[in-house]
C-alpha cells in the first residue's frame, strides 16, 4: 500500500549535495515546502473523509449489513457515493440488481477521472511509465478526492505526490472510519436514533458540487421528479435507475 516515494529519496540527496544533484536550479527549500503543503492537505482531507466513513459504517449497519460487509464495501468498492447508494437501495427493500445498477452508474464518473489522471499519475519522475502492477494498484484509488487533489497541482511531481498521499490518507481513514461507524451502529438502536435519516442527508451533502451549472440543476430536478413519479409503479430502486435520464441535459452543447 506504500506509495512509490522515490521522489522523496531524491530530495534528501538534493539537500546533502545540492551542486551535483540539483542541476536544473530548483530551490529544494521551496520544493520541500510545496510538497509539505500537498501532504498536509492530503492528511486534512483524509480526516474529513474519515468522518464521512463513520456515517457510512453507521448507515450500512442500520440498513442491514454486517460489520464485515460494511468494511468489505469500503475496502474493495472504495467509492463513497456508490457505497451509500447500494446500501440505501438494499436497506429499503430493493433487489440486488436495482442496488447494483444505481451504484454502478454512480461509479461511472471514476472512468472519466481515470482518463484525466492517466497522463498525470501513470509515469514516474523520469517520464517512464509505472509498471503494470503499480498502475493496477493506483487504479483502485481513482476517485473524487484524488482527482481533485491531483488535478489541482500544475507541477507534475507535486501532482504525483498529491495523488499518492491523498490515496494513502483516504484509504486508511475511509476504512478505519467505516469499521468504527459499523461497530457503533451494531450496538446502537438505529431506528429510534434516526439513522435512516443519515442516507438522504448524506446524499444531500454530496449534491452541491454538482449543482453549480444550470445543466446540473436541471439534471438534479429531473432526477428527483422522475424518481418520485415512478416510485409507485416500479420495483424498489428501479426509479433511481430511470432517474438517470436527467443526464440527457448534457447532450446539447
Amino acid at each position: 500500500m506504500t506509495p512509490p516515494n522515490s521522489e522523496t529519496g531524491a530530495d534528501d540527496t538534493v539537500g546533502e549535495n545540492p551542486v551535483a544533484e540539483n542541476p536544473v536550479g530548483e530551490n529544494p527549500v521551496t520544493d520541500g515546502a510545496a510538497r509539505q503543503r500537498v501532504v498536509n492537505a492530503s492528511v486534512t482531507l483524509g480526516a474529513a473523509v474519515g468522518v464521512t466513513a463513520l456515517s457510512f459504517g453507521l448507515a450500512a449497519v442500520s440498513a442491514g449489513a454486517s460489520v464485515w460487509q460494511a468494511c468489505a464495501l469500503s475496502f474493495f468498492t472504495f467509492t463513497g457515493a456508490s457505497q451509500f447508494s447500494a446500501m440505501s437501495v438494499v436497506g429499503t427493500g430493493g433487489s440486488v440488481g436495482a442496488a447494483f445498477g444505481g451504484a454502478a452508474l454512480l461509479a461511472v464518473r471514476n472512468f472519466v477521472y481515470g482518463l484525466a489522471l492517466a497522463g498525470r499519475v501513470s509515469s514516474n519522475s523520469e517520464g517512464r511509465q509505472l509498471s503494470l502492477p503499480r498502475r493496477l494498484l493506483a487504479a483502485q484509488f481513482v476517485i473524487d478526492e484524488t482527482t481533485a487533489m491531483t488535478t489541482a497541482q500544475s507541477d507534475p511531481r507535486l501532482a504525483r505526490t498529491a495523488f499518492w498521499m491523498t490515496a494513502l490518507s483516504l484509504f486508511i481513514t475511509w476504512n478505519v472510519g467505516t469499521l468504527i461507524g459499523a461497530l457503533a451502529g451494531s450496538v446502537l438502536d438505529t431506528q429510534s436514533l434516526g439513522f435512516d435519516a443519515a442516507f438522504p442527508a448524506a446524499f444531500l451533502a454530496m449534491l452541491p458540487a454538482h449543482l453549480r451549472t444550470s445543466r446540473g440543476r436541471l439534471a438534479a430536478l429531473t432526477g428527483a421528479v422522475v424518481c418520485l413519479a415512478l416510485t409507485p409503479f416500479v420495483p424498489v430502486g428501479v426509479a433511481i435507475l430511470v432517474a438517470v435520464v436527467g443526464v440527457l441535459f448534457g447532450v446539447r452543447p
Binding site: F76, S88, A107, N110, P200, A202, F203, L207, G216, V247
Partner: protein
C-alpha cells in the same frame, strides 16, 4: 432489507468488480484520450440526477408508497445545514437528530 446474507455478499463482490473495472479502464487501458464532448457532459451529470433521486427516495418513500414522515423534518434541517455550508458530519447528525426528535414526540 429483503436480501439474504449470501445475496448481500454477492452484491458487494459484483459492485467491487464493476467499480474497479470502471476506475482501471479509464486509467490503465484507455488513458489520456478524450471522449466526445456531449458524452462527457452527460456522464458528468450522472451524480446530479442520481443523488437528487436518492435524496427524495430516502426521504419521501417507503417501498412503493409516497409518504411524508419524520424523515422530512430531517431533510429540512439537512437543507439548512447544507445551505449554511456546514461540514458533512454536521449535516448528517443534524438530520438524524431532527428525525429522532420528531419520532420521539410525534
Amino acid at each position: 432489507m429483503n436480501l439474504s446474507n449470501t445475496e448481500l455478499w454477492f452484491l458487494i463482490g459484483a459492485l467491487s468488480v464493476i467499480a474497479y473495472l470502471l476506475k482501471a479502464v479509464g486509467f490503465v487501458v484507455v488513458g489520456g484520450r478524450t471522449m466526445p464532448a456531449s458524452l462527457g457532459r452527460c456522464l458528468a451529470l450522472i451524480p446530479a440526477s442520481l443523488l437528487a433521486a436518492l435524496v427524495v427516495k430516502d426521504t419521501f418513500t417507503v417501498a412503493q408508497d409516497l409518504v411524508i414522515d419524520a424523515r422530512a423534518a430531517g431533510l429540512v434541517v439537512a437543507l439548512i445545514a447544507v445551505w449554511r455550508r456546514a461540514p458533512f458530519i454536521v449535516v448528517v447528525v443534524a438530520a438524524m437528530a431532527a428525525t429522532a426528535l420528531v419520532r420521539a414526540f410525534a
